[in-house]
Amino acid sequence: MITILYFAWLRERTGLSEEKFLLAAGTVTVADLVDILAVRHVSAFQARRAIRCAVNQEFADPSTVLNAGDEVAFFPPVTGG
């Protein structure tokens, strides 16, 4: 099981701050997870290139491998400061 968090317009478009997800057997990367979530949350994941990801509170790449217990966050490019 992993925890998925959404921020900013990803939170609004998915209608969720958080959801749980049961990892499939075998190697699952961030890119794989996005493929699956894009089916479930069509409008949120439409503009994939505008989406950033963090795994366990560190910025992650599409190729980052996920493990049970991970906290995976999806959000637009940051705009603080």
Binding site: A8, A54, Q57, F75, T79, G80, G81
Partner: protein, 154 residues
């Protein structure tokens, strides 16, 4: 040594500088940057409020790692980063960066580095309330990425 704060509360720039420099006689220069909420259009203001969302579990960690990079790169004698979250009105403070060093160049460069990196590497998102009633997520600017990148070239 660094002071890192993420809070809904406003900050007092004078008090923060005083706290950082109190009793110190080794500091020669203090750089400082304050980001404030701005109307997009002077004269015909269209931003009525700004809301800062963040990713709490990641934010302080990200700020600490940005500060550590600065401390690694410049001989800092003090560093403060305060970022507000929640709802703010035009004219209000958003972010404060202070960097102190024996010499001015390190203080100024570290200040610029900290705000450049904070803008592109810390998990904050701005949403503007417009006069029209619309709520719009601010889009990241390419110039911000470029500003952060220039610190890697050196």
């Amino acid at each position: 040594m660094a002071r890192i704060v993420v809070s809904e509360a406003d900050f007092d720039v004078g008090a923060e500088i005083a706290a950082l420099t109190a009793g110190r006689t080794d500091i020669g220069g203090i750089g400082c940057f304050i980001g404030t909420v701005r109307d997009n259009a002077p004269g015909t203001p269209d931003v009525t409020a700004l809301t800062l969302e963040h990713y709490p579990a990641m934010t302080e960690r990200a700020l600490a790692s940005i500060v550590a990079l600065a401390e690694n790169r410049w001989p800092l004698l003090g560093c403060t980063v305060i970022h507000r979250v929640g709802r703010m009105l035009p004219g209000e403070n958003i972010v404060l960066v202070i960097a102190a060093s024996a010499h001015r160049q390190a203080a100024l460069d570290a200040t610029a580095f900290l705000i450049d990196w904070l803008k592109t590497k810390a998990p904050f998102w701005k949403r503007e309330d417009l006069a029209s009633g619309e709520q719009v997520w601010v889009e990241a600017r390419e110039t911000d990425d470029a500003a952060a990148e220039r610190w890697q070239e050196r």
